[in-house]
């Protein structure tokens, strides 16, 4: 029997690890040993707890106290005060307006959340099969294998209304049914853990924080469709996720939860892990299949669908990590329970990754249909500082931007699509009023151009053209008609591309034109970026009245384009300025302003250069 009286759960998701969680864990071991109470405390490394912005975070049971932003230096105090004397350290707790929030369950971030897929993330030790079993793990698999026929399993999923969480929202039961109905000597199930959408990290957290749940979901799916082999395709950028899932497979095999004749039902199953090598398009299911086969990860036209001709030509289901993460709970709690959450067509919960200019960045799981306002302001805590909300990009690089006018939109597959955005994998990138939407659109386009596999020309050439136009606009060479040209290109690329990448890549541009057309127009007509983000469409100016002539700016200027004296004050030679921003940063009296628009001197210089080039050509 153990003498343990404290469970110390340290979040060791990638976010907290990048903020130093592992060093803190080591320090706890040292300090507990010094106090001679190492045998009274269980130190447990968990998966992501969600509020990454507060990292490193930890929860201490039995009280359930939540500490945030813990540093190595805080450890001695936590042990001496909390563990030895029973006085939790309030300075490390979350502060809300006036009161201090001690317990995890009272942290506002968690309050509107309903955890299904993330149920165990941040609560159990992901490397312990026993802890997963303690939370009811593998019970669903046991019941399914011993009491249900494959068709019954598919029917339960159908009743639950579960749709794919990997982006498309395709009803999960239909895919399973197709492969179930296909007669073949070999069938495959693949778990898609490629998670390439910038701003999405739920699949990583789930694989790292609760790998057995995904494995159990995969086995239930395999039984339903008659597959005996599974693959986890995980991007190489996620070494910890790869390690954890490999470990889970190993543990399951050791106790006979995987392998031959599981639960004495005759069901045999084996799974392997495959990794990518840095290519976004490999998240697309056909590309992924080619990548597992050892080829370039190019998408190929559908049909044939993977359900008919997938891996090595055999019927294959590709399911997203989060989709599989929901399966076991649906069986434990019932299809009705799952279907009671969400909206008419989008059932259950969805995990979102909140990022950008929002207070509580991190992972949240909420019922489908929650409004953007609740998601961003209640769960996400609103904007950082005094900034105003400007836009939110949903659905990754191929999603769309929504605005203040859409805050009361419910988040579900259909509502988002209607408004020009999409659910995608659940990335929610929040932007404040400092952002230039043209620049943001250019950034997303740049991502898609780089990740285009180049196989089909609308995507390869068309996206490039769109990017060139955006670059032209943001550098002050925009022309009348550019907006229409972007729309024309965008629409035809959407129609003609081979895979989802090209089909959706124009979305950010099209949606920003739809909702922020005036910004595009200002860039093109007035050659001005009102948010002073596009460097070619803004300039720095020293205010002579405020300048104290200290010369610091002139000394820091890398191109020595600032001249003046204590008496005359300083000025910027605009034509030579490279807009590095050093002067703006160093000025001790903040006498330097960012001004929208091209400086007249620079504009004149551009004209002169253009004329000279013209003459030269003649």
């Amino acid at each position: 029997m153990s003498l343990k009286r404290i469970d110390l759960l340290i979040c060791c998701g990638s976010g907290c690890v990048s903020a130093g969680a592992l060093k803190i864990k080591e320090r706890f071991h040292e300090v507990l040993a010094e106090h001679n109470i190492a045998n009274e405390v269980n130190i447990i490394e968990t998966g992501c707890m969600g509020p990454c912005d507060y990292g490193p975070v930890m929860v201490i049971y039995p009280e359930g106290i939540f500490y945030k932003k813990v540093t190595v230096d805080d450890v001695a105090e936590i042990v001496a005060e909390h563990f030895v004397k029973g006085r939790p350290v309030s300075r490390l707790m979350l502060q809300d307006e006036e009161k201090t929030i001690a317990a995890k369950k009272d942290v506002p971030f968690y309050q509107k959340q309903v955890k299904v897929a993330l149920e165990n993330c941040g609560y159990i030790n992901p490397e312990s099969l026993d802890e997963y079993i303690a939370t009811g793990g593998y019970e669903a698999l046991g019941t399914v294998l011993t009491e249900m026929k494959p068709q019954d399993v598919i029917n339960v999923i159908k009743d639950s209304g579960l749709r794919g969480r990997g982006g498309g929202g395709f009803p999960t039961h239909i895919k399973w049914q197709m492969v179930h109905d296909n007669k073949s000597d070999e069938k495959y199930i693949i778990c898609n853990g490629d998670e390439g959408d910038p701003g999405a990290f739920m699949d990583r957290s789930l694989l790292e924080g609760d790998p057995h749940r995904v494995l159990e979901g995969m086995m239930i799916a395999a039984y339903a469709m008659g597959a005996t082999n599974g693959f986890f395709y995980i991007r190489a950028e996620y070494p910890l996720a790869i390690k954890r899932i490999k470990m889970a497979i190993q543990q399951a095999k050791e106790v006979g939860l995987m392998g031959k004749d599981v639960f004495g039902s005759g069901f045999c199953f084996d799974a392997e892990v495959r990794t990518g090598a840095g290519a976004f398009v490999c998240g697309e299911e056909m590309a992924l299949i080619h990548s597992i086969e050892g080829q370039r990860g190019n998408p190929t036209p559908k049909p044939p669908y993977p359900a008919v001709q997938g891996l090595w030509g055999k019927p294959t289901v590709v399911n997203n990590v989060e989709t599989l993460g929901n399966i076991s709970t649906i069986f434990r709690k019932g299809a009705q329970w799952f279907a009671s959450m969400g909206t008419e067509k989008s059932k259950g919960t969805k995990v979102f990754a909140l990022t950008g200019d929002i207070k509580n960045t991190g992972l949240v799981e909420v019922p489908m249909g929650i409004t953007l306002r609740e998601l961003i302001f209640d769960v996400g805590g609103g904007m950082i500082g005094d900034h105003k909300f400007k836009a939110v990009q949903l659905g990754g690089p191929s999603g769309g931007c929504l605005t203040v006018d859409h805050l009361d939109t419910g988040v579900d597959y259909e509502s988002l699509k209607e408004r020009g955005a999409m659910m995608g994998s659940g990335g929610v990138i929040v932007m404040n009023d400092d952002k230039c939407m043209v620049n943001v659109a250019k950034f997303f386009m740049d991502f898609c151009v780089e990740e285009s596999c180049g196989k089909c020309s609308p995507c390869r050439i068309g996206l490039k053209q769109m990017l060139e136009i955006l670059e032209r606009i943001t550098s002050g060479y925009g022309r009348e008609g550019d907006i229409e040209e972007l729309q024309r290109l965008g629409e035809s690329i959407s129609k003609l591309s081979l895979c989802g990448l090209g089909q959706t890549a124009p979305n950010p541009v099209l949606s920003t034109i739809r909702y922020f057309r005036d910004e595009y127009e200002a860039h093109i007509r007035d050659k001005s970026c009102s948010n002073k983000v596009c460097l070619d469409l803004m300039h720095f100016n020293i205010d002579k009245d405020r300048c104290i002539g200290c010369s610091l700016c002139a000394r820091k200027c890398p191109v020595t384009c600032i001249t003046g004296s204590r008496e005359e004050k300083y000025t910027i030679n605009q034509v030579d300025c490279v807009k590095c921003g050093n002067c703006f940063d160093v000025c001790p009296v903040k006498a330097i302003d960012k001004v929208p628009g091209i400086h007249p001197a620079v504009a004149a210089n551009r004209e002169a250069l253009k004329k000279a080039a013209h003459n030269h050509e003649d």
Partner: protein, 151 residues
């Protein structure tokens, strides 16, 4: 040496990606040489141009020698929104290299990459297998100094 790595895997085409990963990871200069491609081609009985096709498709592979430590700064939108361009400027200036280049002492190669999935702590960079989040210019410099001192 490459032959030994190959021999750890079954000679089937689907192992190509893993063999290439291991060759690159174990090479002190983190790259895949022409000689390696030849050995892999012999072992798996696939033409060299197929292997080059795969090598150039995936961004993690390099056919050029690289530094001892590979810095991969995330350039995806959530990190950009939180100021990854400032970090890039800083890294370039303290290392004295542009993106894709290796420092003269061979210690660092600076690369950009797509989202590392740690966007909650943006901006983010990965050095070898370690992820560093919530970067500021000062923090980035400290991290580089520390690694420089270590090896």
């Amino acid at each position: 040496m490459y032959k030994e790595i190959c021999a750890k895997y079954a000679p089937t085409k689907d192992n190509l990606i893993y063999i290439l990963h291991e060759i690159q990871d174990t090479h002190p200069q983190h790259y895949i040489s022409g000689e390696a491609v030849k050995d892999v081609s012999d072992y798996l009985k696939v033409p060299e141009n197929h292997i080059y096709g795969v090598l150039t498709f995936y961004s993690m592979y390099s056919t050029k020698p690289r530094g001892k430590n590979i810095i991969r700064l995330c350039e995806s939108p959530p990190c950009y929104i939180k100021g990854s361009d400032n970090i890039l400027r800083k890294l370039k200036s303290i290392l004295g290299v542009s993106v894709g280049e290796t420092t003269k002492d061979g210690k660092f190669t600076l690369e950009l990459c797509a989202c590392l999935g740690v966007c909650g702590n943006a901006p983010v960079m990965m050095i070898n297998e370690d992820v560093y989040g919530d970067l500021s210019e000062e923090k980035a410099e400290e991290i580089i100094d520390k690694i420089r001192g270590r090896n």
